[in-house]
Amino acid sequence: MNFISTTFLVFLTLVFAVYWAIRRRRGQNLVLLVASYVFYSWWDWRFCGLLLISSLVDYGVGLGLGRTRATRARRLWLILSLVVNLVMLGFFKYFNFFAENFQQLLASFGLTVNTVTLRIVLPVGISFYTFQTLSYTIDVYRGRIKPTKSLLDYGTFVSFFPQLVAGPIERAPRLLPQFQSPRRFDAVEAREGCRFILWGCFKKVVIADSLATIVDPIYGSPEGAVGPQFLLATMCFAFQIYCDFSGYSDIAIGTGRLFGIRLVRNFAYPLFSQSPAEFWRRWHISLTTWFRDYVYIPLGGSRKSGARRAAAIIATFTLCGFWHGASWTFVVWGFVNALAVVPATLRLRRPRARVTERPAGSRLFPGPGVLLRVVATFSWVSLTLVLFRSPTFAQAGHIFAAMAGAMFDPETWAVTARYVLGGHEVYQPLYYLGVFIFVEWVQRGRMHALQLPRWPRPARWLLYSLLIWMIFKEGATPGNDFIYFQF
């Protein structure tokens, strides 16, 4: 079930009504559990089997870990969880990738082998909930949390529908206790939830989907485009993927608030970061902190210095890239991002900006130094996204070459100017984008752009109505799925 559909609106209204009609905690959890499985089965009911297996195995592993103190037994329980989850993820997401690469490797030695490739449908959200359940067993193993004895609470924690298919990836110590304690309706939270949902829908439907009308044709037929068009499309893609994914997260967070559940913040205005390292602290926070806690720190990254730390960063980022998709382009994307982060992490001359801090300082008009760093970081991030968006290295290479070659060719810039001014399907998304960047910049000290406590209610309602009108209008064209559904 897609968030951007009338189906979801009806579904959410029904679940909300039933949920708050029940006063008891267990009953509320049961409503959420059933609703989550209905939500997930909307794509394909067979996917629910995987979700159930993952939940049952890790629930059982949690209980097993809770019953023994023997190191060897505890390690075996953890290995069971890791194997089941990673095999499931590996099979559905990476089987064909490994089979094809194995075949190519043998072919390079002159050996011809017919490996099996399967028509595997990637169950939506598997990368997200697998990581969530894994974090539970690892945290129980490490003694950070006690295992839950309630299968209902645990099942609700794993399958909670707002964040099931594209995060934020929650941690048990933060989310599970919320399902274990009674919830009372809080109107302030619910209103805030509605504002999160509205802003998330706006980002997805009005900004991301309209930018797709620029990005998709250029990346879809790269042979017909010139360098500056690639530059434009690439920068637009940076905003598209940000609005697409952070829009999803906002809707998830807002939906959670309607049920009295607080989900973790997933984006903190990353495109206003002043360095690649800061960008990665503000982008997809729930995933980057997952990799920090379960990959980077165990690799010794936090305790070592020099080469060991650099190696840990490179390994972590490369794995993070591979998590995004079964393709070498994602692996290299992760690797080049690591290269940009390593120097700053090794130097650490100034204290890190916290994600809760306003990015790029507090001034409305920043100094030239800040502006330069923001623009440079954004440019770097955009360029690396060529690897993320291109299906092959050949296409990425073609795009990089076209961008570099066209820098001093006035004719290609003239072609691009005509393209931009040629039709409203190009300049309208850019106009929307301009307004959006301004609003986000002004509001970057807040959790989201619709936090306007000083505005009187009529003005706020007028603004909400305007946003709803734009969503209604732009959403009436064929929509795109959320980009991160494919991961």
């Binding site: 009338t6 309706f185 109107a187 959403g475 009436a476």
Partner: protein, 317 residues
């Protein structure tokens, strides 16, 4: 919770009042919309006395059959072309005709292949099903779960936005866009054939591939059972049902022939009605098509109609 619910209700009511009020005040169904042709088709079906020769199928039937030639070839029958759109799905196409079949009628189902593979595979964006209800409200009785799901996903949303846009134009005294020939109601002739495209320049259809995907035997058997059930009812009423294959472009036939032959073999094995000709008999050169692999142009339509006349004549002998 009450203040929250009151505010949500009030805010929603304002939005609904603005949008809904405008639509209620100004929206009118577009008289020349392509789907409005369903009104004419049903009117002709109801007003034409039996024995009739009723053609059932998707838009391939609307674009590819020349009813005047059928009328000349079979003077005892009055042709009615019910073909409109493949997205209506097989069950719907048969169900809308079934109550109106009378003794002596001949129903010729000329089916595009996707209709036989998965009866709901042609489900398109839900606004199509919302739009159809404007012209044919009782169509809702033939909708199945995939159609309701499509309606709910974004169908009603997209349709209400279109209705809102139309209402705005009407409010400003402007004419709303009703579509372009041949996808308009006035592109049809009195029999229900699309004729506007006969005078238009055909497009190159090679970039628009025809059906040719993987096919499951069980799905074809399910479609065949639907046709058999329809034929049983028609037989009880004293009508005859025949099956012909929709047109297929020659250039793409080689790639798809395994799937098409499988469909044909299931049909010949399980169908209780005559199959008029072989799959390859309705394969035509690419330049016989108008704008998709389902829509024939003037030359293609003439060839296809001649093929049908010959086969129907043999079947009725």
């Amino acid at each position: 919770m009450r203040p929250f619910l009151r505010d949500v209700f009030l805010f929603t009511a304002i939005q609904v009042a603005v949008y809904g009020g405008l639509i209620a005040a100004f929206y009118r169904p577009l008289p020349n919309h392509y789907l409005a042709a369903t009104i004419d088709k049903h009117k002709r079906l109801e007003s034409t006395k039996p024995p009739r020769m009723i053609f059932v199928g998707g838009s391939g039937v609307a674009f590819g059959i020349h009813s005047p030639a059928i009328a000349d070839a079979f003077p005892a029958y009055r042709p009615v072309n019910m073909g409109l759109h493949g997205s209506l799905h097989l069950e719907y196409m048969l169900a809308e005709v079934e109550p109106k079949v009378r003794t002596g009628d001949v129903v010729v189902t000329v089916l595009e292949y996707p209709l036989l593979v998965d009866q709901h595979s042609q489900v398109v964006d839900g606004d199509f099903y919302a739009e159809l209800l404007v012209y044919r409200p009782d169509a809702i009785g033939h909708y199945r779960w995939p159609h309701f799901k499509a309606l709910l996903e974004r169908g009603l949303w997209r349709f209400s936005h279109r209705a809102f846009t139309i209402s705005l134009r009407i409010m400003r005294g402007k004419n709303p866009d009703q579509g372009h020939a041949p996808y308009t109601r006035d592109s049809f002739n009195a029999f229900g054939d699309v004729v506007a495209h006969l005078e238009m320049e055909p497009l190159d259809i090679r970039a628009r591939p025809a059906f040719g995907g993987a096919t499951s035997r069980a799905e074809v058997e399910e479609a065949v059972e639907t046709i058999n059930e329809f034929a049983r009812v028609c037989r009880r009423r004293g009508a005859t049902v025949l099956l012909g294959w929709g047109p297929y472009p020659e250039e793409q036939f080689r790639q798809a022939q395994t799937a098409l032959r499988m469909i044909e073999s299931v049909a010949r094995e399980k169908l209780t009605i005559p199959v008029l000709y072989r799959v390859e008999d309705s394969v035509y050169p690419t330049d016989c098509f108008f704008d998709t692999a389902y829509h024939l142009n003037r030359r293609g339509g003439a060839l296809h109609t001649a093929r049908l006349i010959e086969a129907i004549r043999a079947a009725l002998r």
